[in-house]
């Protein structure tokens, strides 16, 4: 009957995630709780992906005050808001046509934003220049990735284009590739060595693609999502040499750059390493670097703001790309959050002390959360958990008893999905099964966000350990 029964095969080919099923179940449970159904817990905690504000992290006051003031400019008068907030709001409103944040922002965003981003990058990278013309304001890093893949991939071509993605992967790197008709080619990070990337593995992945697709780009995530690995300069140089030799476009997802907590770990951007490697690399390797307001201290995923910087992009491609980018209308509050991330209060500003306090609090919370999680998880039988250098997730490995694997099989499930599903049902805790991260079957993992308040993390660990102990006992 339906005219629509026949749909775009690219859409059909986007993989269905186990996590989506779990989250739907979590929503159902929440509804049941609301209706007064009795459960051994009174709320669902969803730490399956990093959604800091939803798990108890407080938004940074300064930015929220600026956004509120821009939304309702009456607040510029009076003294409800601190002086620097009111001044910032005035400046930002001055940049909006008609002085209203309800105006279309002419692409590529608020006029000064590109320049702010350029300054921010250049400052971060120790002076490496970042021409504003190469910087584009986007509605989050996923939109940037989608746009880049849409020009990199000719979906009608056979064999299809390939994107090298790390395993464990960030699901959206794979689903976005599938949505444009491309194929994800996995390369495996070394779980035994803190998820380090080895170039031999990249070469192997390239070979595995032979005949099935033709790889056009390499996707890297640093600090690693979901591994928490922070790449060393040497490793990044190797990768840059690799993409140079193999002629691949380099997509660097650097959205977690603010959160680096491991001892001796330091975030260095691909842009900086590339620039410092000099010719022939620095003037040939095509690089897109992505950053957003969704992660890090801001954690404002709901506002959908971010930027991408393009390096060494062919000018004629740029020209075509402009037309696509012209149609973007990035949410104004996303742009304002971005402005905030790039220009936090300076020492001496009325909001500076509070801002510093809030940032420090988030940082020490993260360190606390990781330390606690390591301690609790490693004390449990059948779980091993490695320290992380940064990023937003813990990715413990489960060593499930044979009985559990057998039971999962009988129920027609993959073992880690079986585990996560029971965990959700019995304790109201939602975590992401390793299978969604591309992790090979036979190894079992779960991923959960560490960007939570300390209280939430304690509760997460309490539910997880209680469940896990019972689970191990039940199946051994």
């Amino acid at each position: 009957m339906s005219q629509l029964r026949l749909i775009n095969p690219k859409v059909q080919n986007i993989r269905a995630l186990e996590l989506d099923t779990l989250v739907r179940k979590a929503v159902r449970i929440e509804e049941e709780l609301k209706q007064g159904l009795k459960k051994p817990y009174n709320e669902v905690i969803n730490v399956s992906r990093c959604n800091p504000h939803a798990t108890g992290v407080k938004p940074l006051s300064f930015f929220r005050q600026v956004i509120a003031t821009c939304s309702y400019p009456t607040l510029i008068e009076g003294d409800t808001m601190p002086l620097d907030v009111r001044e910032r709001a005035k400046t930002l409103l001055g940049e909006c046509s008609g002085g209203s944040i309800g105006s279309y922002s002419f692409w590529p965003g608020l006029p000064h934003l590109q320049r702010s981003i350029s300054k921010f990058i250049s400052h971060r990278d120790g002076g490496v220049p970042a021409p504003p013309d190469n910087i584009f304001v986007v509605g989050g890093s996923h939109q940037a990735l989608k746009l880049l893949l849409s020009i990199l991939v000719d979906g009608s071509r056979s064999p299809p284009a390939g994107l090298l993605v790390p395993v464990p992967w960030k699901t959206t790197s794979v689903t976005n590739m599938e949505a444009v008709g491309g194929v994800a080619v996995p390369y495996y990070l070394d779980g035994q060595q803190g998820w380090r990337l080895r170039v031999e593995e990249l070469r192997g992945a390239l070979l595995s693609a032979v005949g099935a697709c033709h790889p056009v780009a390499l996707y890297v995530s640093n600090p690693g999502d979901p591994t928490g690995h922070v790449q060393s300069r040497e490793s990044m140089e190797e990768i840059i040499r690799f993409v140079f030799e193999e002629k691949l476009f380099l997509l660097a997802d650097e959205v977690h750059q603010e959160i680096v907590i491991g001892e001796g770990c330091k975030f260095i951007s691909y842009k900086k390493v590339l620039a410092e490697m000099g010719a022939p690399f620095s003037d040939t390797v095509e690089l897109a670097s992505l950053h957003s307001v969704s992660q890090g201290f801001m954690g404002e995923g709901g506002l959908r703001g971010g930027y991408m910087e393009l390096v060494n992009m062919d000018p004629s491609v740029m020209k075509s790309f402009y037309v696509v980018l012209c149609q973007l209308n990035v949410s104004i509050l996303g742009q304002m959050a971005l402005n905030g991330m790039l220009n936090p209060p300076k020492p001496g500003d009325p909001s500076h002390a509070l801002y510093e306090e809030e940032i420090q609090h988030i940082r020490s919370t993260m360190i606390h959360n990781v330390t606690r999680a390591m301690k609790v998880l490693n004390s449990l039988p059948g779980i091993s958990c490695k320290p992380i250098g940064g990023g937003a997730y813990m990715l413990p490995r489960l060593h499930l008893p044979h009985g559990a694997i057998q039971q999962a099989k009988e129920e027609g499930r993959l073992p880690d999905c079986f585990y996560c599903s029971r965990l959700l049902e019995q304790t109201g805790l939602c975590v992401c099964p390793g299978v969604d991260l591309g992790l090979p079957e036979g190894t079992h993992h779960i991923r959960f966000s560490i960007m939570t308040s300390m209280d939430t993390m304690e509760e997460v660990l309490r539910r997880l350990s209680t469940f896990h102990k019972r689970f191990m006992k039940d199946f051994s």
Partner: protein, 567 residues
Amino acid sequence: MAATWMQRISPGKARLLTGGRGDAAFVCTVGVQRQPVSVAHHPASVAHHPATLTAPHRAVHSLSSSSSSRLHRFFSPPPSRALSSGPVSAPEEKMSDNVRVSPWAKVLTIDTMNPTVKKVEYAVRGPIVQRAVQIEKELREGVKKPFDEVIKANIGDAHAMGQQPITFFRQVLALCSYPELLNDNTFPEDAKSRARRILQSCGGSSLGSYSASQGIDCVLQDVARYIERRDGGVPCNPDNIYLTTGASDGIMTMLKLLVCGEDEGRTGVMISIPQYPLYSAALAELGAVQINYYLNEEKCWSMDISELQRSLEEARTHCNPRAICIINPGNPTGQVQSRECIEDVIRFAAKERLLLMADEVYQDNVYAEGCQFHSFKKVLFEMGPEYSDSVELVSFHSTSKCYMGECGFRGGYMEIVNMDPEVKAQLTKLVSVRLCPPVPGQALMDLVERTATLSALAEKAKLTAEILNTVPGISCNPVQGAMYSFPNISIPKAAIEEAAEMDQAPDMFYCMRLLEETGICLVPGSGFGQKDGTYHFRMTILPPMDKLKVLLTKVKEFHEKFTNQYS
């Protein structure tokens, strides 16, 4: 769950049900579970494409899986590369020589990039707008011009044109952004309670949390209730609402879902001419076939079924028409379709088995006397079960275009009607790839209510048509809705020839001259499509009354001067 799993491990069934490559990957994985790592290398590269999963391939897999899992790929003989002409150099080269200097060509060049992107054009922000931005810069730098400011009448940006935001919405937004303000007694109680309701629906009571990809639950419910009120009680299920990033995101998503097939089986989509260029851009990007049907300018841009039939039949010779898009009230043409016309279109869609895509973003902007907005949903349901049980309809709305005029927030929704449940599941999966629409925009969508006084717009619409119609060589249909006029302009032959020499469409030439001489920025009709030999421009009617009068007088003077100069 168990059932799904069983279907998955039966390759034949899996194909029939969803045909997804994800399922094929599972099939492959299950088949050789003992060597998980090696097999897992393959899902992406081979098993993702069931078509390429030929018997010899399988053999290679099972052989290789018996060797060391991490290394097997190095030992498998590298088959010759299927696509040696691609940007990646041949594998033999790679293996033999690790330190090589690559040729200097880029990975991404105009020849290797996705060709459909090259076809995308977007008139509303085309060369005229780029020039306008440049002129503004020149003015700031002190360059002398016959005018002191650029008037951007090309885009319907209500707030940039001086329309005041609605206080209540902005209060709610401020409260949601910075909930400490809930303790501030200068905010009214109704704004506070609305803000509380929205925040309760957000994760951790923060607008900064990702929402569910379909949208915030309470907003979905409120939108559904809003639609029910609008449609005089026709029921609306919140589960059929998808919140979007402005209407364009919804339109793009639906088109993406729809497009398939090759050659003569390629999906075709009927769009009105003149059209809003979002449609042509989206169809070009998706590689779908654009099917033009012309609106009848003589009858105030109405839709003729005979014209729909003509364009459909012509298209059936070279593609597979599957959907028809209607913009009502019209953009750029400003007409409001009558109820009879909508019924005719619904009957046409039912007869020809087309998906109806109703772009109703201007539904709250209907102001001409005797005109009324009828939603496709309402008319469809009032036509009885013969139609309301089967015709597939998607309607789009946004916060940008209604009286709210909040373009910057990028809020919108689409409502789907009669969609196949399996297709709906695919749609849900597709929207989840982009995580969620901006949450503040979703919050604004929650505040949709029709309370606006449109009298000012009605007056401006009337004035615009009146003044333009006094100019010899300009004729303007009455502006009934939306926020644009789309007058027909006659351009002298000499001007057309000069434009041709410059490789410009005549109305582009006209608008460019207008911009250079008066600072007024309009969009040429050629950017929207129009009948051959006719020329138009689109002008928003949003500027404040005094500014609008100046604008119209300037256009009038320019047109007279231009006509004189070239005849």
